[in-house]
Amino acid sequence: MLKDILKILENDARARPKQISDMTGMPQTEVTRLIKQAWQDGVILKYKAIVNWDKAENEHVFALIEVKLEPQKDVGFDSIAERIYRFPQARSVYLVSGTYDLFVLVLGKNNHEIANFVSQKLSHIDGVKATNTQFILKRYKEDGEIIEGLEEVKRQPVVL
């Protein structure tokens, strides 16, 4: 089943069709076909690595920006969101319930760059009523993966 394949790939994007075939008992040709189909259907968007930038000595800052929108005539939230998510700085953009309407995760080189993005780009967009920027101080877990501090538990010799 496609779902079984997707679960394996979501956990390890490098799993090869041969491995997936071994893991699921599905013929390799069928695995390859389903992956290709999922790719064409946009079910699989991309194969990426989860990077711990702190260890890569790369200057970077993440910020969570809450954005309040003002409905515009003839323009829905979707198109305002699009104007925001088109910026490469916006890593993730969500429409949310609550006080604010959009939740934008932004990656920049430094605080200054993020401040510029908010004051020069975001706040100028028609329909953006207010923003609330929170700089991220530490990332603990990213996309289901604990970033650091996870100690490996060692098994002790035991009879069973």
Partner: protein, 398 residues
């Protein structure tokens, strides 16, 4: 000098005949060898490689913070017994009274020991499959009983046969011990085969001790709870636990469900030897049963992927492998290498640093096989298979 004095000089301390009669576990030997080595991939330990799901750990932490650190009722907390009863009813339709028919123990291991001590008089016989879990015969011997092994074979799916059991029944036979899904073979008994044993137990008025610790770990087949078979609740001592399904081996919580008279006898022994199972462990077990069961499903799905990889991998390198439908063990035949299972395991560890357990540790019928536990990461399984391929290639045909 008398013989006795010489023995006393040789051995500083007196060790009981009971302890001396027990043979050291064949698995232990391998782990002693292994603990000093670097870079070993272990397919040896029969234990989930997952940590206990977080919501379960968190519940136990909270109970410690709240100071719930006292003894519990000897039989286990009322909440946990009630929840175990609820789960047995929901999963198998068997009704147990949480007050008089369920006992919470320190793992299934304690439940096994209590059972033997509660039901065996010296010389009573317990019929059990060969190969099977290393502790089975020892628990019988410790209670001064006599284990009677019944050979089971790969071409018969390692199932134990009612006809074979019947031919071993004597006046001293007290119980039949079943452990399915099986450690070490991964075999699952089919319902019709179990029903034949149930008929036999009913006719001969025997107790069936059913260790169902691996009940939740089956792949594409359904586990049959022995107590759920017609008339069998009265004849069954059902042992279960949390270690394997919820990755809770270190918590040491198990249970026995059985007729009230037997539970009362077991509880008496339990209260003098253990008092009760650990309070935080019981809190964790309660959360395991009450919480979301997705964690079990996800772990089973993961084991299943590894199972398919290891069984195919072993077959591909020429170690023909019985398809295990339960637990997390593969039990490949190593006969084509010409080695016995102990030599195979020792050489494989020395030459390729892969630890497996010789089948002979599980009984005479385990000879010619090794047990590979696949509750370890896929990457390790794949590397272990590469190393085993090299090893088998080198030793083909002995």
């Amino acid at each position: 000098m008398s013989v006795q004095t010489r023995v006393q000089q040789h051995r500083k301390h007196h060790i009981s005949r009971r302890a001396n009669r027990l043979s050291p576990s064949g698995i232990r030997k391998f782990f002693d060898l292994l603990s000093g080595m670097e870079g070993v991939i272990s397919l040896g330990v029969g234990e989930p490689d997952f940590a206990t799901p977080w919501h379960i750990r968190e519940a136990a932490i909270e109970s410690i913070e709240k100071g719930q650190t006292m003894y519990t009722s000897n039989s286990g907390t009322p909440e946990l017994r009630k929840e175990v009863a609820r789960q047995l009813r929901a999963d198998y339709g068997v009704d147990y009274d949480p007050v008089s028919e369920i006992l919470i123990t320190v793992g299934v291991s304690e439940a096994l020991d209590l059972t033997m001590r509660a039901i065996l008089d010296p010389g009573n016989e317990v019929i059990l499959p060969d190969p099977s879990f290393v502790a089975y015969p020892s628990s019988v011997i410790l209670a001064e009983g006599v284990p009677v092994s019944i050979p089971t074979y790969e071409n018969k799916n390692f199932e134990i046969n009612a006809g074979d059991i019947e031919s071993r029944i004597t006046r001293k036979t007290r119980a039949i011990l079943l452990g399915y899904p099986s450690n070490p073979t991964g075999a699952v008994m089919s319902r019709p085969k179990l029903a034949e044993i149930a008929d036999l137990a009913y006719d001969k008025n025997l107790t069936v001790l059913s260790d169902e610790i691996y009940a939740r770990l089956t792949y594409g087949v359904e586990h049959t709870c022995f107590a759920s078979l017609p008339h069998m609740k009265e004849h069954t001592i059902l042992l279960g636990g949390f270690s394997k399904a919820y990755a809770m081996t270190g918590w040491r919580i198990g249970y026995a469900a059985a007729p009230a008279e037997i539970i009362a006898a077991m509880t008496k022994i339990h209260q003098y030897t253990m008092m009760c199972a650990s309070s935080m462990g019981q809190v964790a077990a309660l959360e395991a049963l009450k919480g979301d069961q997705d964690c079990v499903r996800e772990m089973v799905e993961d084991y299943n992927r590894r199972r398919l990889v290891i069984v195919k991998g072993l077959c591909d390198i020429g170690l023909s492998c019985f398809e295990p439908k339960g637990a997390f063990y593969a039990f490949p035949s190593i006969r084509r290498t010409g080695m016995n299972s102990e030599d195979f395991a020792e050489k494989l560890l020395a030459e390729e640093k892969v630890a497996v357990v010789p089948g002979s540790a599980f009984g005479a019928c385990g000879e010619g096989y090794v047990r590979c536990c696949y509750a370890t990461s896929l990457a390790d399984i794949e590397e272990a298979l590469r190393r085993m391929k090299r090893f088998v290639g080198k030793h083909r045909g002995g």
